[in-house]
Every structure is written in C-alpha cells, then in structure tokens.
C-alpha cells in the first residue's frame, strides 16, 4: 500500500534516484568518528530552526511586549519553558559544535586544496552562527540582553573610521530601543537564516563536489558508502548530543532577568556572563574614540583577557580554591528549603571570574594596576565592568558604564594556548551557574 503510494511521486519526479545518489556516496577508507561533527552541526541548525519557528509564534519584537512575551512563553505557555530551553541551550551547543567542526577540518587538513572554498564557506557559516547568537541575545529584552547589546554596539563603535556609523546602523539611531530591537529581530529571523541556508547548500554542494577528505594518512582497502555505514556513526553522535541538549533543557531552566531598564545597574544583573568586554581591549575611550593599539598586539589583544579567562586564579590562590571546595561541601549538605550561605557562592564565582588576574599574572609583559583586579575580590563584583572615574575623559553620569582606560594588555603565547584557554574558560562559570540554577530548582533558598 505504502509502496504503491510512493511509486506515484517517484514515477513523476524520480526522487528515489536522487536520494540514492545522495546516500550512495563512497567515502575514503578510514573515514570515521571525527567526520561526524558536520552532522551534529546540521542537527543543531535544524533544532534551532524548528524551535525558533515555535518561539516566533509567541514572541513580540517590541520593547513594551518583548519581555512579557518571553515571560509568557516561559511561565504560561504549555511546554514553552522547554521550547525556549532547547533554543537557548541549542544556540550554545551550535557555537561549540561549529567550532569543533572547524577544528576537525583544520586538524585533519580538510581545508587544503581543492577544498579552500568549502573551508571559506564554513568560516562564513561560523560568522553567521555567531551573528545568530549576538542578535538573539537582545530579544528577551531583559537587563542582561540590554546591557550586553549596549556593550556589543560599543565594541562595533570602536571600529576605525566607520565606528560611529556602524553603531548607529546597529542601533537604528542614536539610542538603543524599539528600532534596535526591530532590526535585530529581523536579522535573527529573516536575514541570517536566509544567509545560513544559502551557505549550507553551498557548503554541502562543494563537499559533494570534492568529496570528503578522509583521514590524514590514506588507508588501503575499499571505502564504505555514506549510507548506512557512516550515517550510523552520525546518528550515534547526533543522538548523544541531542540527549544532552534535552537533558539540559529539562534540568536547567533558562533564566529571565528583570525587564530592560536604561537606568538600571548593569553590574547587578549577571552581566558577567557576557565575557567579551572587547571594547576595553580595543581601547575605546569614554567618547567612543578608537585608539589603535600597537599593530603586533591587536589581534591578541582582541581575543585576550576576558575570553581567555577563568581557568585562572585558582592555581595561584589557594584561599579561593578552598572556598570552592567549601561551596560544594555546602551544596552537598543542604536540604530543600534551607538557607545557603551566599558568601560561598560569591567566593566560588570570585574564583571562577578572576580573569584579569590570571591574564595579568600569566601573560602580561608589564606590571598591571592592581586596583582593577581588586574589584574582583569585592562582594559586589562588577566583574569586567568598571565604573568610570568621575574625572577625566571617561567620566560620565553616575551609574553609567563606559569602557575604562586601556591597560595595554598583551598576550604572549601562541594560538594553541589561547585556543585551550578559550575552550576552558567557560567551564568554571558554567559549573557555578548550573549549580545555582540546579539549587533553584530544588527550592534551596539562596540568601
């Protein structure tokens, strides 16, 4: 019966031959698990598209309603919390998967001739994926979103010559508001998806044209067909990643900060999660003027400090390590409804966020000003956000934030160390945040 139904479209379109041609590709011998990373990226892109469509049905891209619509999704819509959880965690997974895929391509030399254009299309896709993360961050219109976008736009403002125009273009004017939200939403749901789909088609077409590169050392023997032998490996990895994604979405609720408030204090709203205070590193002063760092330092400076953070101070600070241990001991001994000493959490996060100190002590070729590092030890950690001095060129109205004066940060070692640092940077804070959110789900009151 089913075969009869499927025969008709096949007789009219010949789709079976197309599918067979797509699946019967012979792979080089030795093509194995490392070559499953692309499928994971594909799975996550599909997940993001599907959950994004679901979210779009309820999200309203207007400052007066954006926050309420996200709150509605989270609190009132059936399965809405799960929907947003999958989209939220899926976004992070997608960035990681794309980077892992890129590393695989790099390490196995798949970018070499004749696959240079495939590599470039992949790089463009990575940029588009980062664009998704950036534009999606503003949409909840909570404090974190607002201030993160403020910083992001200030980063763009540091672009030589065109910085101011670029910032105005991103904002849709002089102020961050309805026009900003509208264009970022439009980019998130129309422009970037169109770009990504185009690039995916091109990427896959190029991949099919040149074939999979295979292992570094060519192996003897016959190859296997893509389906089902390699698809089976793809499916195992995809299912594992998807299981972790669903588990995270189930167990770790996505937070929603207070509604965006221009007069609010950015330091009070988990802003530290936005790690790239690159504006500082790009040496943007209080008026948005760009100060070019020494050319040899430029790229290293951009990537440095906040991103390459966290792995940090523990090694050089036994007291903080002790606090971390104490924190986890406290967590273990707590029962639902009991109070948890906020200080332990603070100390844990202090430790995990001691980015600057680590960067200074490890990679700096100059003595650093300890007055900045001291802020990380305070109870009200401003993390990487600094109050402008009330005198001098960075002075602004009380309560506002401007990137502080540059410290001429330099990073000494090469790309490998940096890459490792970037990868490791997220771990401590992520663990800390997960613990907090897990405690929240267990009704342990944090005082």
């Amino acid at each position: 019966m089913i075969a009869t139904i499927l025969n008709w479209p096949d007789s009219r379109t010949g789709y079976r031959a197309i599918v067979r041609r797509a699946l019967d590709e012979e792979l080089p011998p030795g093509t194995s698990w490392p070559f499953t990373t692309g499928s994971v990226v594909t799975l996550l892109v599909v997940c993001q598209f599907i959950t994004g469509v679901g979210l779009t049905m309820y999200y309203v891209p207007a400052p007066s309603l954006a926050y309420d619509s996200v709150r509605f999704i989270m609190q009132e819509l059936t399965l809405g919390w799960m929907l947003r959880g999958l989209h939220y965690w899926g976004a992070s997974f997608l960035v990681v998967a794309a980077v892992v895929h890129m590393l695989r391509v790099f390490l196995l030399g798949s970018y070499k001739a004749p696959r240079e254009v495939t590599w470039l299309s992949g790089l463009l896709m990575l940029l588009v994926i980062l664009g998704f993360s950036l534009s999606g961050y503003l949409l909840p219109w909570d404090q974190k979103a607002y201030w993160a976008t403020t910083v992001t736009i200030n980063v763009a403002r540091g672009t030589p010559l065109a910085g101011e125009y670029l910032a105005d273009l991103m904002r849709g004017g002089q102020e961050l508001g309805a026009l900003t939200l509208g264009r970022w939403y439009s980019a998130h749901v129309f422009l970037l998806p169109a770009a990504l789909v185009t690039l995916i088609i091109a990427h896959i077409a190029l991949m099919r044209k040149h074939g999979i590169s295979g292992p570094l050392e060519p192996q003897p023997g016959p190859g296997e067909t893509f389906f089902p032998w390699h698809v089976a490996k793809d499916t195992v990895v995809m299912a594992s990643v998807f299981a972790v994604l669903v588990t995270l979405a189930l167990l770790v609720p996505v937070s929603l900060d207070e509604v965006a408030n221009v007069a609010g204090d950015a330091t009070q709203h988990g802003f530290a999660r936005l790690r790239f205070v690159v504006g500082e590193e790009l040496l943007v002063d209080g008026f948005g003027h760009f100060k070019h760092p020494p050319r040899r330092q430029f790229l290293r400076v951009v990537v440095a400090r906040e991103i390459a953070a966290d792995v940090a101070g523990a090694a050089g600070d036994a007291q903080r390590l002790d606090h971390v241990v104490h924190f986890f001991l406290e967590v273990r001994s707590q029962q639902a409804g009991e109070n948890l000493d906020r200080g332990a959490i603070d100390d844990c996060r202090d430790w995990s966020l001691s980015v600057d100190q680590w960067a200074k002590t490890t990679y700096s070729d100059e003595d650093r000003d300890d007055s900045h590092g001291a802020q990380y030890r305070g109870r009200n950690r401003p993390y990487s956000i600094r109050r402008a001095p009330q005198t001098g060129q960075n002075a602004t109205a009380s309560g506002s934030w401007v990137p502080h004066a540059p410290q001429h940060a330099t990073v000494g070692p090469g790309g490998c160390v940096l890459a490792f640092s970037v990868a490791a940077a997220s771990v401590p804070v992520a663990v800390g945040d997960c613990c907090r959110m897990f405690l929240a789900t267990k009704s342990i009151t944090v005082v």
Partner: protein, 160 residues
C-alpha cells in the same frame, strides 16, 4: 556503487543498521515535534473560564424587542491583557429574558438590529433573523446562538 550491493556486509546487518538509524532519528524528530507541536497546539485547546456579567436591568428592556448590549471584559491575549467587547441582544418575554449572540451564523459577521423592519440583519451577505433569532432569509444555516442568562435582583446576568 549501489547501497544494495555493498560488498562489506551482508544485507541483514545493513538492514538492521537502517532500522536503528530510522528509529533513532525518528525519536529525535518525535521529541522535537512533541515540544514544538505541544507549544504550538496547546493554546488552541485552552478554554477561558466562563464569566457572568451584568448586561442590563430587566425593567428597562422592551417586550419582544432585541436590545443590543455591549459587554466589556478583560481577558488574557497571549502575553497581554486586553479588554474584549461582545455584543448580545437581550429579548424580554414577560418575566423571562433571552440573550442572543450578535454573531451571524453564516460567516461570523457582526449583525445589527433594524428597528424599522424589526429584523436582525447581517451586513455581509444579507442574512436575516427575526426578533427570536430565527433565520428568515439569506444564507445563515442556523439561528443566532443562545447565551445562558439568569436574573439576579432585577439585573440580567449573561454568561460569556
């Protein structure tokens, strides 16, 4: 090279793998479909709790004449709360009162009462109802919907 003629493995192993792949990928799809589908479909089946609203005083109604009354009530509309309006006809017959929904049963247009002809008319496609809400002309397939009413201390209460 055709998948069916794979020279590495017998058809049995291949067939098993294909079924495993299909099952796992179908599970991933089903999970996504459950979450997204649930969120998309659920509001369609959500029913608002009925409200009893005061629609008018019984002595002020005219015998056997539909009196249009606009009811206003707030309700949740997604993330926002809106004030909704609904027009009903109150028809007094002795000590009894009937309430008729003003929505045409043809294609949902708002009807109006014509006092001269003593008919309820639909402006969209010419549907005609008498004062009792019965169809007397045009395309409407059924009478105007009756709305539950009750009288409390001389006030007509209508359920919306």
């Amino acid at each position: 090279m055709d998948v069916c003629s794979s020279h590495h493995d017998p058809a049995g192993r291949r067939g098993f793998l294909v079924r495993v792949i299909q099952t796992v990928q179908a599970s991933i799809g089903a999970t996504l479909a459950f979450v997204v589908g649930g969120a998309v479909v659920a509001p369609s089946f959500t029913r608002r709790a009925p409200l009893w609203l005061a629609a008018g005083d019984l002595p002020h109604l005219v015998e056997d004449t539909p009196v249009p009354v606009t009811l206003r009530f707030s309700r949740l509309d997604g993330a926002t709360e809106v004030v909704d309006r609904r027009v009903v006809y109150l028809v007094k017959s002795g000590d009894d009162v009937r309430a008729l929904d003003s929505t045409c049963t043809h294609l949902g247009c708002r009807t109006r009462y014509n006092a001269e002809t003593r008919r309820i008319e639909c402006p969209c496609h010419g549907g005609l109802y008498d004062a009792e809400g019965n169809v007397i002309g045009g395309p409407p397939p059924s009478p105007l919907a009756r709305i539950p009413t009750r009288i409390e201390r001389g006030t007509v209460m209508v359920q919306v």
